[in-house]
Symmetry: C2
Subunit: 324 residues, 2 copies
């Protein structure tokens, strides 16, 4: 049995908990939280400990599945965990991945531990598709579309506007752009050409809706470069939408092997629950890290470095006989 | 530069030739053929040698890309090449993969060479999707659909019928079955429920068309379990269709993380030229085998065992910075 520790119990921690529970080759040693452990009732009856107790589990956990966020949690804590444990995380601040990688690779090698970073669906499964597609069809273009799904960052940005009580923002792939790519037209598309942004906003009774709408639509980086739809709804309606955590997206590679012959490769995901699926991916990579660490691999890895056989509980013989 | 030898020059050999030519980090040492080398004019001006000359190139080729068929070529020749060379092949007789694997793994380890087998799009890219999807969404069902594309085996079977001059058979995914899977209904589907078979048949002037149609539709294994459409056309029309080697297909994984939340993962390929795309995949894995062999890896590998970073000419740093 692979002994797993789960660090953090937000939406992702809950998803990981469910995934570890259904993995027959895994055993959860504990959920580690910054909250009062007595206040936390997890979805599965795993032991809950204060994060301070983690040190007591040195040598008793094969892999820690880190369920913190990329903004502050992971950059500040992963390196420390790596001194004593193998880890998997979902670090997704694309621009900072090289720096994060270098730092963790050094620490892991010094401490003879193993870390898999940027695991989930993007980065993660989508990264595999982009890389594999590009390698097998070198003469072509990549297109990644996200959605329909909630962008937490954009929702937060709206909530910071004066007069706004609550808000949720959906990123939606533009049908026309999808169609254009599917037809192999190899268009040049900026992010704003590929996606529209739909906002549902609850405001104070005396708020200036026209001004709020203008403020959203003209917000640099977040909305200014996009077609943006603003709907004013009640706080209850926003809260209802916030319960649904569905997401998804598409990776395309469109290209040619000769002037006459073009090819289209497409990966798409439709997810009812972003954190439950991400948690499931993290758990599969937890299996890989535990196994590879046992084989003596140390350092920092991404989805590009890990042979996918390590993700499955099936033996290599079974994989070849049934899935090849 | 990676030094490549291409063995065999049919449709696949031509596809590999084009792919090696556009790979900036590869150099083709030669195309090796059983035919008279003077009779062969390849798509790219690479040297052509008789297969008997291959032994002269021991130590001068990093990887052989084997472009023979799975019925007789590969089972009879790969083991022999592996004594002196690293190889990549597209062995696709699914039922015989375990046996083929064991035989080659033994020979490769004895001779300290490296072999990647069953590379292409199915087995190959589709196998990666099936395995990865199953690992990250363990509670679910797989569906593989092939087509629209030519089945060489079924076309051959029709051509063996008395009175038939020429024939081509297209395997076509059933829209209704695709739709049912896409809606997450998790149907139980046999191959015959997923595909229909459309045949274009040229017959002798005095042939009994009704009898030929009946013979096709009732042919066990090949057509009896399928919805089959038979069209009678001229030999020229069949020949025209035989020039187009388009193919494609779909891999789905449909499953749940909880009772409420289901997910759909889909990979699809639309290929204008099956052999050109397969050749391009084989070439990328040639890069991987050449590199892994240089690192000292020996034995037999499949797409499940090879970290995808090895497929790309980009450095690991570039991959992490641009594609993760």
């Amino acid at each position: 049995m692979i002994k797993v520790g789960i660090v953090g119990y937000g939406n992702l921690g809950r998803g990981v908990t469910l995934a570890v529970n259904s993995a027959k080759d895994m055993e959860c040693v504990g959920i580690f939280t910054r909250r009062d452990p007595n206040s936390l009732i997890p979805a599965v009856d795993f032991p809950v400990y204060s994060i301070e107790k983690l040190n007591d589990f040195k040598g008793k956990i094969d892999v820690l599945l880190l369920c913190g966020g990329s903004a502050t949690d992971l950059p500040n804590t992963t390196a420390n965990y790596l001194k004593d444990f193998n880890t998997v995380d979902s670090f997704d601040t694309h621009a900072k991945i090289p720096e994060y990688y270098s730092k963790l690779d050094k620490i892991a090698k010094e401490n003879k531990t193993l870390s898999a970073i940027s695991i989930g669906w993007d980065p993660g499964v989508f990264s595999i598709a982009r890389m594999l597609f590009g390698a097998v069809l070198p003469n072509g273009n990549d297109y990644t579309f996200w959605g329909r799904g909630v962008s937490q960052g954009h929702s937060d940005a709206i909530r910071r506007i004066d007069g706004v009580i609550n808000a949720i923002q959906y990123t939606i792939p533009k049908e026309q752009a999808l169609e254009c790519v599917r037809q192999g037209k190899n268009p040049t598309l900026k992010t704003g050409d590929k996606h529209l942004r739909e906002c549902f906003v609850a405001v104070k009774p005396d708020a200036d809706k026209a001004l709020i709408e203008k403020t959203i639509k003209e917000m640099p980086n977040y909305f200014a470069d996009y077609e943006t739809i603003v709907n004013f709804v009640s706080d209850n309606e926003v809260k209802e939408m916030q319960k649904k955590l569905s997401h998804g997206g598409f990776v395309f590679r469109s290209g040619n092997t000769t002037d006459e012959n073009s090819h289209l490769l497409e990966l798409s995901l439709k997810l009812d629950s972003n954190p439950e699926f991400t948690g499931s991916v993290l758990t599969a990579y937890g299996r890989a890290v535990a196994r590879m660490a046992k084989e003596g691999v140390t350092g920092c890895l991404t989805a590009f470095d890990i042979p996918i056989k390590y993700l499955s509980p099936l033996s290599n013989e079974q994989l070849r006989a049934t899935l090849l």
